[in-house]
Symmetry: C2
Subunit: 189 residues, 2 copies
Amino acid sequence: MGRPRDPSRDDAIKLAALRVLAEAGYCGLTMDAVAATAGVGKATIYRRWASKGDLLLSVIDDATADQLTRPDTGCLREDLLVLLNSLAEVLAGPSGRASRTLLGALHHEPTLAEVFRQGPLARWQEAFTEVIDRAVDRRELRPGTGVWMAAEAGPGMLLQRWAVTGQPLDSAVVTVVVDELLLPLLRRC
Amino acid sequence: MGRPRDPSRDDAIKLAALRVLAEAGYCGLTMDAVAATAGVGKATIYRRWASKGDLLLSVIDDATADQLTRPDTGCLREDLLVLLNSLAEVLAGPSGRASRTLLGALHHEPTLAEVFRQGPLARWQEAFTEVIDRAVDRRELRPGTGVWMAAEAGPGMLLQRWAVTGQPLDSAVVTVVVDELLLPLLRRC
C-alpha cells in the first residue's frame, strides 16, 4: 500500500499464482510455489499480499474488473446477451478457474468471503442493475417485476454449470438463458 | 468390498471425516486426521476407501440417498415444495457442507467429478423428472415445456446461495423459487 510498486512484478506474481493454481489446485497453492514460479523472493510477495487468499482475490478482482462488460446497446435483450456472455467468458477463463478453487475455501475464511462478495459479486449486481434500470427508463420494462429473481436465476444457472455439473457454458446456452429464463421473468407483470 | 465390515465403524469414520472437514476444510482433511478423530488406524480407513475423495463421496452419497425426499403428494406445487425444501436441507446439513468443500477440488480430480455427477446429481435429476412426469400424467403439465430450464434454474438459484453468495436458503426462499420461477417456467406453453 504505502510505497510505489513495480506493476510488471505484480503482474508476474499474479500470473504465477494462476499457473500454480491450474497445476496444483487451491490446496497446492503456497506462497513458496508462487515465489518459485514467479522467480521472486517470498518477501516480495508478502510485501504486497498478506496471504494466498488475498493474492487470489486480487487476481480475481482484476479479471472481473477488466472483463465484465457493462453494455449499453439501447436494447434489453442485447444488453443481457452481452452481459451474460461476458460473465460466461470470465467464468471460463483463468480468473474463473481461480475463483472456482476458492469456492471450497470461502466458507472457512469469512474475510475472504466478504471481500469476494464485495468485489466480483457486487460488480455483477451493479452491471445487472444498470441494464435493468436503463430498460425501465426506455419503458422496455416496468420497475420491480421479477428483477431480483432474474438477477439470481440467470447467473445461478451459469454458476451451476461452471461449478458443479460441468455442462457447456457457451453463447448458445447464454442465448437460451436470456430468451427462455430472463426475459420471461423480467417481462412478467 | 470383499469382506464383511463393521457398519458402526464405517459410520464412525464418516462422522470423523465430517468433523475434520468442518474444522480444517478440504485442504486439512487428511487420512491421518480422520484416523485420529475416529480413533482407528489408518489401514482401517484405507481398507474401505482408497483416498480422501472416495471417503468424502461416500459421506455425501449416503446423505443425499437418505435425505433427498422423492415426493408424491398428487399436486405439482406440493411435490416441488417438498423436493426443493429437501434439497435445501441437504445443502445446509453436514453432507452439504462436505460437498461444498469438494467444489474447488472437483476440477482437479476428474474421477471424483464423475462419481459426484453420477451420484448426488443424477439422484436430483431423477427425483425432479419423476415429479414432472407424474404432473404430466395427471394433466397438470404438458410434456416438454420449460422442463430442463426449470430443472436447472431451480437448483441453480439454491446452489448459488449455498456456494457463493451466502444468502439465506430457507423454506421462504424455496416457496418463492417454486411460485415465481419453477411454476411459471413449467406452465408456459
